[in-house]
Amino acid sequence: MLVKQSLRAGLITGVLMSGIALVMFPWWALNMVRPLALWPLAFVPLFITGVYAVHRAGRLVTSARRAALAGAVAGLAAAVVTVTTIVVLSILGATFVPPHPGPPLWSLAVVLMDSPFFVPPKVMFFSLPGALPFPWVFNAKMPDGMLISRVPWTLPLFLPVGTLLAALQAWLYHAQTKLGSRTANVIARRRASFQIKLLVGFFILGVMIFVVGWLGFAATNEMHVQTHAGRAKQHWLDHLLRVEGSLRAQSETVSRLSTSLDEAAIQEAATLSNRIGAELNHLRTFPPPAHPFESVGAIGSALFRETEKHLAAIQEVDRRFNDVNSATLRLMELYRGGRRAEAHALLSSLDPLQRAVMAPLWALINEVNVDLARWMGAADDTSHGELLAIMLLVLVATGIAFPLGYVFSQVVVRPVKEIGRGLERVGAADFSTKVRVENRDEFGELAEYVNKMSAELNRLYAELRVLNEDLQQKVQELEEKSQQLEIASRHKSDFLASVSHELRTPMNAILGFNEMILGGIYGDVGPELKGPLTDIQDSGKHLLRLINNVLDLSKIEAGLMELALADYSVQETVERVKNSLRSLAEEKGLDFVTAVPEDVPLARGDAGRITQCLTNLAGNALKFTRQGRVEISANRRGDALVYRVADTGIGIAGDQLATVFGEFRQADPTIATEFGGSGLGLSITKKFVEMHGGRIWVESELGKGSTFAFEIPLRVEGAKTG
């Protein structure tokens, strides 16, 4: 797995490198130019091969050794891909690109020659014993005409170097991530605001950039100064050689004068003498005014040092030359004064004088020459050294900058990730979450807030759970209770129903036999028995009504009551109720009337139940009215029908109006003792009205009578069960 992943990483970086090379190298070749220092671009992917391999292998990299292995595999793969590409390019280059002078651009040779490693072309290649059997860009013709193929060392060396480099890189990266993580911890644990930490990081980077830049500047300056020193030396050498040449010419002139003394020659010697004097004077007063800025500072002092170094020697030369010069002037004087003998004598002394000048001059020339040669070597060394130093510094700076960036990213990323994971857990309702971060800065605070939030949520959740459990328990208890109640209620209903039925059967017999006795079926009944027998009949009927009411209510409560909907005549219904209660009204001497307009149409509903409702209401009205009247009326109100039963009875107190429709209720419990009644009638009436989709209400004033009214739809469709 590790090898597979690393191999893939290497192949990807190798292809990337080859891609860049494919774009860059042909461009170089076709344009026959070498873009300045662009070559490292093609190798950038190689710099990340090891890192990429470790990254790609991820958790498979469990140790530094495995990291190195991953890097080595990836490096080798990348190198193989790259070398293959270069070989292909070298073949293609020999096929398509015309030959050109200079080093072959189709190779890494360019790279090495342009690089600061300064590999001489001679050692860059090794030769094969013969020519390769295919076109090859590095073929060379031997002096004997034989063609041999050369191969750049970079090609085979690339494989082990790439492998080692990537392995080292991977190992370092692995170590660095471990070290980086530790360093990140150290930074994170600092008790300071993250802004300060970041500023410190940038300050360190800034200092490094400054140091690199400053050292670069210093190196450039140093080289500049050295260049000037070299120029000064060259200057010296030029002038000294000119002096030497003039001296030589003068010497020749003098020797010519010794054979034939003529003015022109003397003049020439004098002119040469002047020139030499001027040169020497120039050298003595060196440095010359160069650039105004360069006459001071490092460059000025470098030039001055050059003068100082040779000043004694040039002064000696100058002093000796003065003798030559004065002798020349004297010679001119003597010649013009016609003193020829003296002139000849002087001529003979001139030669030794000239020789005396030549000796220190040559010594000086030699010295400057040697100095110049030494300088050239030193300058080379210096510039190479400086370049290497700058390169190293750049490497070190970037080597520090990248890990520093990594460390700082870790300082930020790790707590953010950790907090993010924590929040994710909180989001998934894991309130025991505790976010642990190393940071003691803003991120640490943030983590602390998340922890506080989590703890608070945990507390609330626990409370909620307790409340919920409590609630569930209560709900269960309630459910159990309601079930028990339901069962009890059903038992009650069953009981009432069966009791009613059982009561009714004997009542039927009692009433039936009593009526037959009264009707004379069993023989004549004397007038003294008629009264009590009639009382038995009335009481029996009353009892039967009560039983019916109980039965109805139990049926309604059990949800078994159903309406039998049919068309019915409102007028007939009201009339039937009046007829059934007429005798009671007559007994009490009450005015019992009905009022239903002719235009009230056929209605739809359960006529039996409506009859029962009106009977209940009118029966109550008659019961609770001692004198006056009871009126049953019905009126149409749009789509509704309103039945009213009004009386002039005892009335109901305002505070009891609301409760009269409850079961087993009477407005005043004491009333039962005077008027009787179970209090079931009204509640049954109310239920029947509601089953018809209507409502019932009462208007009353104590002592002035009551009006019970209910409103139901004129035509009831789809009845509700009780």
Partner: protein
Amino acid sequence: MSSKTILYVEDNELNRKIVRDLLRRTSYRLIEAPDGEAGIAAACEQHPELILMDIQLPKVSGLDAIRALRGTPETADTPIIALTSFALSGDDQKAKDAGATAYLAKPFSPFDLLTMIRSLAPEQ
């Protein structure tokens, strides 16, 4: 002169006695059956002129018995008075739907029943 036969299907002895006593001084001949099954059998054997059928009966309910009688050719046209046991709405409608000619809600007045019998099967 042959008296008319009335079949009374009723499980309660006291109720049967009421009707028995009620009809004692009339010309009607009363035959009785204590449940729906016996009622159907009696109706098929003796061809009564009128049937009084209680709705709440053991074995076969009154409603089912009425339906069975209506499905039998011999008794298809015999008038049947259904004695609905509860004075509840719906029972009368159910009785009519099952095929009863008339109904009377219990508890009934014996004289009302007699009036109804006489109107459906007049005495000779």
